[in-house]
């Protein structure tokens, strides 16, 4: 346990590829990092995925949860200490930084690496919140099972939307992939796979405007054509929302510089934030690439930046 007189060298907040990689590097640098991995989110966004095919070194792919478990184990092997809880308060604008977890435990650190990642974006339509867990979902791998032989829809146009839609065809009798535009942002290989899937049907230029329930469960969505403005309805019992993510900046908002989209700003070519001894990495700073491997790379950079900063301060 740390104190103001005896702070840890480095605290890492977040446990996706960025956080765990920062843990591996900081631990190997003998900094005895303390890593806050979250009460129910340890492992980050990849815990809710299936096969990861593009992480280098895994020739035949690896399951997302297994990849994260192995990263955690690797960080642990070199002495990273874990707190399986969320940080609910951070005071970063001082020489010794202060953190408090959800159970009320207090911590002090000389340097902090922020790696909180991003959270699911919501559509913000009527019925969405009310029907969450009753047909509306953000996690195909968690909930797809419950939609066997049903007609469902996925909203979104990026890799995660296409991945979810393709995954859901294992269960559903039909999957509509609804996108606001007339082409996908997703990578070519995933689009090709989706196009070849007989259970998957693309619905272009369409947005979902309302989720409608019957007997407490989703049974219809209302739609609007983004070109003609024409309204429509679709009978679906599942609606999976995959329209992107927003950086999880709640903890540091107001004390650290963010860009206009809420991402933590770092100095070009480094992971340094505007606060001395505070570094940021992963999806929290990256609105361009947002890949497991780029997050891991920036987590490595953050640990090296923190190590260098500690040696000079």
């Amino acid at each position: 346990m740390s104190t103001t007189e005896n702070p840890v060298e480095v605290a890492i907040i977040g446990s996706g590829p960025a956080g765990y990689t920062a843990g591996i590097y900081a631990a190997r640098a003998q900094l005895k990092p303390l890593l806050f991995e979250g009460a129910v989110t340890a492992g980050g966004a990849l815990m809710n995925t299936t096969e990861v095919e593009n992480f280098p070194g895994f020739e035949t792919g690896i399951m997302g949860p297994q990849l994260m478990q192995q990263m955690r184990g690797q960080a642990e092997r070199f002495g990273t200490q874990f707190v399986t809880d969320d940080v609910v308060q951070a005071d970063l604008n001082q020489p010794i930084k202060y953190l408090k977890d959800d159970r009320g435990n207090e911590y002090w650190a000389k340097s902090v690496i922020l790696a909180m990642g991003s959270g699911y974006r919501e559509l913000g339509i009527p019925g969405e919140k009310e029907l969450s867990g009753h047909g509306v979902s953000w996690c195909a791998t968690c909930d797809g099972f419950f939609f066997r032989e049903q007609v469902i829809a996925v909203v979104g146009g990026g890799d995660s939307a296409v991945e979810e839609a393709t995954f859901l065809t294992r269960f559903a009798s039909k999957v509509y992939l609804i996108h606001r535009r007339d082409s996908l942002r997703a990578s070519k290989i995933m689009v090709a796979r989706a196009e070849a899937d007989p259970k998957l049907e693309f619905v272009w230029n369409t947005e979902v405007t309302e989720a409608v329930a019957k007997d407490g469960k989703l049974n219809q969505i209302k739609t609007r054509n983004t070109v003609t403005g024409e309204a429509g309805v679709m009978d679906v019992t599942g609606l999976f929302i995959a329209i992107g993510h927003d950086p999880r900046n709640e903890l540091v908002k107001g004390q650290i510089d963010l860009d206009d989209q809420g991402y933590v700003l770092v100095k070009s070519g480094s992971t340094a934030t505007n606060l001395p001894g505070v570094f940021a990495c992963g999806d929290l700073v990256d609105h361009t690439y947002r890949q497991a491997i780029t997050a891991a790379g920036s987590g490595c950079a953050a640990a090296l930046d923190a190590e260098r900063w500690l040696s000079h301060n």
Binding site: A39, V40, T41, A42, G43, M47, N48, P65, D85, D86, D102, R103, S132, G133, H134, G135, S137, C139, T141, C142, D143, F145, F146, F147, G216, K217, G238
Partner: protein, 108 residues
């Protein structure tokens, strides 16, 4: 593991009816990441509030009939039963403090 009874399709209704305290049923599956993350938290709550609430587990893969009858479409779902009736539903993994707050009426 604290005292967490494992429910089956066959035992589900009778266990809930015969319970003398409120029962929280954790609907879960092996392949569900968030279920695994909330499991140790439920274990702690079961230990700390043993006299107030019983926590039971239902594996939805092994016992789909009970899960279907309870209209589960997302896991983890945690239903609280009193006299066999659902009186509270919590969907999704949550940190301990949040779960304890949501369950306050049964724990105090």
């Amino acid at each position: 593991m604290a005292n967490m009874k494992v429910l089956t399709d066959a035992s589900f209704a009778t266990e809930l009816k015969s319970a003398t305290t409120p029962v929280l049923v954790d609907f879960w599956a092996e392949w569900c990441g968030p279920c695994k993350q909330v499991a140790p938290i439920l274990d702690e709550i079961a230990g700390e509030y043993a006299s107030k609430i019983q926590i039971m587990k239902l594996n939805i893969d092994e016992h789909p009939a009970a899960a279907q009858a309870a209209m589960i479409t997302s896991i983890p779902t945690m239903n609280v039963y009193v006299n066999g009736e659902v009186v509270k539903q919590i969907i999704g993994a949550k940190p301990k403090a949040a779960l304890v707050a949501e369950l306050a009426e049964f724990l105090n």
